[in-house]
């Protein structure tokens, strides 16, 4: 089955993916930080029982202790689990669907972290899937809930709906125009937060950003999603306008063609260099300068992350071997 991120979705020239994440806890059990491995296993088996009673056939159940470090980090690179969860061992488990669009972290920060991913901008669709799975689990599990402050979570920042909706955006033109600091300031005033999707810092790798809702209490899921969607559509419009200007400049056009030249010919590619060049090539592809399917670049951005490279090819277990493998894979993909 092909993975969800290989498709191109709505607003796909700029929006890479959409994610909805719900945090839930079971009332009878203390939150994960207060549980030992045996306690966590009891929580996990209660959740597992409900899931598999409900005929979730294409889900697999993975104990985190059974994964190698490379496999665990690769899951985090694909945004299927959190980096913190990748480091967990005893008592943490992951439920994942075959196409990797649904992943449920068990005993991460909360008992349940249910996550649905979709290609492109698809907030309502992703929420719909998450909501149905949540109903299925909630019908059998006694969720920790308080009428006044909503779903109870280990960290008070998630109280209320306990829903985090995020959209991953490729914003190379706005980044080049130096607009990101201003935009990030503006969206924070609207109760949203924007940050680099691959590594923090002033200039995120590959100009890929993640924008998500910050407030979860006192706002319904529908309103939070509608707010986020309207801001994302504005960012998309601004990025398109900025990109239309940028590609007119000969110096910028030159950069895009050089980037493609290097990706097609390099024998060694580090992650950082790849991300920088892939961003330029993606900009060219999104604006119709290159006839390269954008899904192909999206897939490379996901699959060329270091641990994911090593997970796919055991021999690529050192930085130099990874760089050679990455260069070869990228060359072949762009031929």
């Amino acid at each position: 089955m092909s993975k969800w991120y290989i498709e191109k979705g709505d607003q796909g020239d700029i929006v890479l993916s959409t994610r909805i994440r719900l945090a839930r806890n079971i009332d009878e059990f203390p939150f994960p930080a207060k549980l030992d491995a045996a306690g966590k296993n009891a929580v996990n088996s209660a959740i597992r029982t409900v899931l598999f009673e409900n005929d979730c056939k294409d889900f697999s159940y993975i104990e985190m202790k059974d994964l190698s470090r490379v496999q665990a980090v690769s899951l985090a690179e694909r945004h299927l689990i959190s980096p913190e969860f990748a480091a967990k061992k005893d008592g943490s488990a992951l439920v994942i669907s075959e196409d990797e669009s649904v992943s449920i972290m068990l005993c991460e920060e909360d008992h349940i972290r249910l996550q649905v991913m979709k290609a492109g901008l698809a907030l309502e669709e992703a929420y719909d899937i998450a909501d149905k799975l949540d109903n299925m689990l909630g019908a059998k599990l006694n969720y920790a809930f308080d009428e006044r402050i909503g779903y109870l979570t280990q960290c008070p920042t998630n109280l209320g709906t306990a829903m985090r909706a995020s959209v991953m955006l490729h914003l190379p033109a706005l980044t080049r125009c130096g607009q990101m600091a201003r935009l990030s300031n503006t969206v924070s005033k609207l109760g949203l937060t924007i940050r680099g999707a691959y590594g923090e810092g002033s200039q995120p790798k590959g100009d890929v950003y993640q924008i998500s809702n910050q407030i979860t209490l006192g706002i319904t899921e529908e309103t939070a999603i509608a707010n986020l969607k309207s801001i994302v559509l504005q960012l998309v419009a601004q990025e398109r306008a900025a990109a239309a200007e940028i590609i007119k400049k000969p110096a910028e056009e030159d950069k895009m063609f050089r980037a493609l030249g290097i990706l097609k010919n390099a024998r060694l590619l580090s992650t950082d260099e790849f991300m920088e060049l892939a961003s330029l090539v993606r900009l060219g592809a999104a604006r119709g300068i290159f006839e390269i399917p954008i899904e192909k670049i999206n897939e490379l951005i996901v699959s060329m992350q270091p641990a994911t490279v090593t997970a796919a090819n055991e021999q690529a277990d050192s930085p130099s071997a990874r760089d050679a493998y990455r260069a070869k894979t990228v060359r072949e993909a762009l031929e």
Binding site: N25, F31, S82, L217, G218, I219, T220
Partner: protein, 171 residues
């Protein structure tokens, strides 16, 4: 374990980072962690740890410190521990310390009243009723309607029962 930065205090903050696919671990005391700009689980949500702790501590009178702090009857977590870790122990902690937590919750979210999905709004999946059970229920409803002299309803229910029973005889 001692803090890797100052080597003096007990390390209470454990940071795992993935840098180019390699996992790096650091163990720091809370002072050094704050000094080095590491914030723990709040960092992902754009909240600064020290700000959050400051917010929490602002609500706690200094008199209510170590030892005397009440504990959650279910998981035994004290309010001081919640303040220190920024983590709540269990669902009952919220009920036990509701009033004390509320000012911090308001500071984080700006609001203190949940709106949105509730556990009650989750549609309960009823077990499929057998035909006999349905008829039994309708008969009870019919008797009730007759008893309250609600003959119109009773007649409707009678027709429903007939339809159900008729369906059976056709099979």
């Amino acid at each position: 374990m001692l803090c890797q930065n100052c080597g003096k205090n007990e390390a209470t903050t454990h940071i795992k980072q993935i840098i180019n696919g390699d996992m790096a671990e650091s163990h720091l005391c809370s002072d050094c962690a704050a000094h080095l700009g590491y914030s723990d689980m709040f960092s992902g949500f754009g909240l600064n740890l020290s700000e959050f702790f400051g917010g929490f501590l602002g609500d706690v009178k200094p008199a209510v410190t170590a030892g005397k702090s009440p504990r959650c009857p279910k998981c035994g977590t004290s309010f001081d521990e919640i303040v220190r870790d920024g983590r709540v122990g269990c669902a009952d902690c919220y009920r036990t310390f509701y009033d004390k937590l509320l000012p911090s919750i308001q500071r984080i979210h700006g609001k203190i009243k949940h709106s949105g999905k509730t556990v009650a709004s989750v549609p309960v999946q009823p077990k499929a009723e057998t035909k006999e059970e349905k008829i039994e229920k309708l008969k009870a409803a019919m008797s009730e309607a007759v008893a309250s002299q609600n003959f119109e309803d009773a007649a409707k229910i009678r027709d429903e029962i007939k339809a159900l029973e008729g369906g059976e005889s056709n099979e």
